[in-house]
Structures are given as structure tokens and as C-alpha cells.
Amino acid sequence: MSDKVKHPGLWTTFFTVVCLIWVFPIVLVFINAFKDQTYIALNTFSIPRGDAFVGFKNFEVGIERTDFIASIGWTVVTTVGSVLLILVCTSMCAWWIVRVNNWAAKALYSLFLFNMIVPFQMVMFTLSKFTDMLGFNTPWGLWLIYLGFGAGLAVFIFTGVVKGIPQELEESAMIDGASVPGIFFRIVVPIMRPSIISVAILETMWIWNDFLLPYLTLDLSNFKTMPIAVQYLKSGYGAVDMGALMACLVLAIIPVILFYLLCQKYIIKGVLTGAVKG
């Protein structure tokens, strides 16, 4: 399908213009992060100059008001822990389901499939009450909650992968005297590696940006994640400091763009892995 188009130069120009329009909303936030807040509402599209330019003042205010550095830290703790736990547990579980394949395994698999079509609103109230009761309202408590609520997609993807691995490999290792965990971690995991990376990317994109689940379950006086900090800045203080808000948006966008530039290839693969038809 990679055929040539007529007038390639024209198409390059056309898409360059479209792409400039495409990134414009993000650029606009960067511009306004350096403006005094009264100018943000009045002259949204002008370049900050003279009185309008306030340097890094918005950033200082935004970081101080929301404790933004700490919220980045908690986002990292929540995301990294949850993703690692999801990867280890669901890959083991998927292997068990495919290889054992008895009624229990099949029932478990159906439950995980069912999980994928349930919107979060269905469980949000009860889940937030239970996490409170169980004392899981910490970032590390969320590791378990994310494993539970996010299990469906990961198990679904991993079972698909395991089905493609020839069983003979594992059986010959067994005859050679390898233990079951040994087989899984030394033979199966290396084969699953590409899909493990894909699932890691998908889950990272979800958990890093997730707002409602941490908002409803975390003990917010001690822990805020980044989306929560941004939301607090908007709704928690009466009059909104637009300058500080813009600065926080910039701080929230930068890590994501760096992450994208670093592992673009894997992100695309992750998206495609997640698009497998249910």
C-alpha cells in the first residue's frame, strides 16, 4: 500500500499546515504559561511581551499551591507500582488459564472478558467505599485496585499471546527437570517480552492519566496525583488563577512528551496490541 502520490510536495505542504494547526492548542498553553493571568483571558493569542510577560512566576505559584512536585512523585509511585504488579500477576494468570484450561480457568477467563465492558461509573461508589474500609486509600493500595479493575484487558491480551506459544517447548523443559515457576520465568516470559512491553505502555498511558479512580479512592489530604492537582487548582480555590493553571498544564505535558519521544515505537505497538478485537 505504500504507493506514490501525485504532487508529493503539495501533500507535504498540506500536512505540514494541518500538523501546525494540530499542535497549536499545546503551543498556546506554553505561551500563556508565561503571561500574567489578566492577559490570559483578554489576549489569549498574543505573545507575552512587556507587562504581560511574568517569567516563571506562574510556575512558582502553581508548584507551591498544588504541591506539584509531590504530586508528580505520587503519580510515578502509583503508575510504576501498578504497572509492574499488573504485568507480573496477569501474565502468570494468563499462562495458567491457557495451560490448565479446565472449567475454573474458563470461568475465570469469562469473568475477565466481562470486566472489559463494564464502565467505571458502575463500580465507582462501592469501590471507593471499600478501599476506604480496607485502608487501601494509599498509592500502594491503588496498586492492588488497578490490578483488580485493569486485569481484564491485560489477561485478554496475554492469553492471546500464550495460545501462540508451542507447548512442546515447556514440556521438554519439564522432562529436563525444570520447575513450573522456572519454566514460566525462564522460557515463557522471554517469549512474551514484546507483548509485555506493549501491555506496560497501554497500562502506563491509562494509569498515569487516570483521574477519577485515584480521586475517589486516595486519601487526598496526603496523596494527590497530577490530574488531581490540576483539577484542585481549577476548582478548589474560588477564583481560578489561570496563570498557575497554565503553568501546571505545561508541567503535566512535558513528561508525557518526553516519554513519547523516547518510546514512540513501543507506544504504537502498545496501541495496536490493545486494539485486538474482543
Partner: protein, 284 residues
């Protein structure tokens, strides 16, 4: 017939399947089942519930805001499914051809997806309010503004994602079929409509499925961009449910009933859509 490996692995259930299953029970199964039960109860916390039958459902269906939110989400989803899929298909179609810059263009189109919904909401609030300020208005002027604002935001976010899926689908199409069609004298438009699109049905199934369920479930963007303003007129289903739970004391049961209705709608739509488009898939 259970294999030798299967027999050995079965005994290891406590290590391999139990951790995920326990987390699944805590994080999903118990909240889900309790949620269904509570939709028939009056309660303020989980422990003080009192069974009241279908009263919550009656209350939910009598709420004009809920019907408005349902119409809002339905209209929003219909527009998003059509618009996002046509545009992302068109972009994918062009970006699988060779001219300078295609890989950079793909990256740029995908980028908004990595930014979270809350942040996206405030980015677009800045942009749209900046534009509307020229007429002395803002997004909270009327629900119609909020609606189209969300359409713009959501298209911006989802087009890149769907484009990636369409590009992957197009790249895996069998080139001999295209060539055969070209040899038979089909022009590029005929190839597109009579060969490419029918062969692309699996990707179209996935993308319409994703845009549809995403459209109904949209929450963060709605909360950040308009928060329902003015007077709940720009409120989708998910936001309406959230605000019933946490905005009106004593309405927890009604919120839960709405959530069950919402779940059933999303589940049924997902199943019907999957049936319909899967049956239209063709083999090369």
C-alpha cells in the same frame, strides 16, 4: 484432555492465578455485585443500606437531567463515531502513501492521546474561551457551545489513535488484490471503495467499537471543559452519574441505579455493534 504441562501447572494455582483473582474480587467483583444490590436500596454509605425495590430506577428515569444527559451522550457519540472514523481513515489512507514527512505527521497526529483527559479539557478551555472572547462569550454561555467544544476536543484526541489502527490495517492488506484490481482497469476510487474498504472491515469494526464505547464513557474531558455548565446542559451520562452521587446528598441510590442503566446501555451497544460489523467482514 489435559496436557502434561497443564497437569503440573494446575497445582500451582495459588501462585499463578490467585493474586490476580483476589485483586479482581476486591477491585471489581465485589464492588460490581454490591453496586447492583445497592441500586435497589436507599443508602448513604455501603453499610446503612435499606432495600426499597425499584424506587431508585423510577426516580432515575423521572429525572429530566438524566434524559438530557442520555440524549447528549447519544448525539455526541453518533457524531464522534462518524466524524472521527472518516477523518482518521482519510488521514491513514494518505499517510500510508509515500511523500516527505509521513512518519513525522503520524507522530504529531497521535500525540494528544498521551495527554490525560483533565489536562486536555483545560487546554481546550483556554483555546475555545480565547476564541469566544471575541464575541464576549465563553463555553458556559450555552450547552450547545459545550457540546461542540467537546466534539472538537474529542476528535482532536481520538483521530490519531484510530489513525494508528487504520494504518496498521492498511499496511497488512494483501497487495496482490490491489494490483489485480488495478490490472482489471479499476481506478483508484474504485479500488478504495470496492477493495480497500471492504477488506478494512476488521479495522473499521475495532475503531467504531472503540470510538463508540469511549464516546459514551467520556468523563474527564467533560468535567474539565464545562463541568456541565450552564445548568447541566453540557452534561454527558458519565458526568451526570458522578454528579448525582457526589453532588446531591441522599441521591446515592439514584446514582447507582443510573450507573446500572448506563452499564447495560454500554454493554448492549458493544455487543450489537460487534455483531453487526463483524458480519460485514470479508476475506481476501
Amino acid at each position: 484432555m489435559i496436557s502434561m504441562a497443564g497437569k503440573a501447572i494446575r497445582k500451582w494455582w495459588a501462585l499463578f492465578s490467585l493474586p490476580t483473582f483476589v485483586a479482581f474480587i476486591i477491585g471489581f467483583l465485589v464492588p460490581f455485585i454490591t453496586g447492583i444490590y445497592l441500586s435497589f436500596c436507599r443508602f448513604t454509605t455501603v453499610t446503612d443500606s435499606k432495600f426499597i425495590g425499584l424506587a431508585n430506577y423510577v426516580e432515575a428515569l423521572k429525572d429530566p437531567d438524566f434524559w438530557h444527559a442520555l440524549r447528549f451522550s447519544t448525539a455526541f457519540t453518533v457524531i464522534i463515531v462518524i466524524f472521527v472514523n472518516i477523518v482518521s481513515f482519510a488521514i491513514a489512507y494518505m499517510l500510508t502513501k509515500t511523500f516527505r514527512g509521513v512518519t513525522i505527521f503520524r507522530s504529531v497526529f497521535f500525540m494528544p492521546n498521551l495527554i490525560g483527559g483533565i489536562v486536555l479539557g483545560y487546554i481546550w478551555m483556554l483555546l475555545l474561551n480565547g476564541i469566544l472572547a471575541h464575541w464576549g462569550r465563553s463555553l458556559s454561555f450555552s450547552g450547545v457551545y459545550g457540546f461542540w467544544g467537546l466534539v472538537a476536543l474529542y476528535s482532536w484526541q481520538q483521530i490519531g489513535y484510530m489513525m494508528i489502527i487504520y494504518i496498521a490495517g492498511m499496511q497488512s492488506l494483501p497487495s496482490d488484490v490491489m494490483e489485480a484490481a488495478a490490472v482489471d482497469g479499476a481506478n483508484s476510487r474504485q479500488v478504495l471503495f470496492h477493495v480497500t474498504i471492504p477488506l478494512m472491515m476488521p479495522s473499521i469494526t475495532v475503531c467504531t467499537f472503540l470510538t463508540m464505547t469511549n464516546g459514551f464513557k467520556m468523563f474527564d474531558q467533560n468535567l474539565a471543559l464545562t463541568n456541565g455548565a450552564p445548568a447541566n446542559t453540557s452534561e454527558g451520562m458519565a458526568l451526570n452519574i458522578y454528579r448525582t452521587f457526589y453532588g446531591r446528598a441522599g441521591f446515592e441510590g439514584v446514582g447507582q441505579a443510573k450507573a446500572v442503566i448506563f452499564f447495560i446501555i454500554v454493554a448492549v451497544l458493544a455487543l450489537i455493534q460487534n455483531r453487526l460489523t463483524t458480519s460485514r467482514e470479508v476475506e481476501a
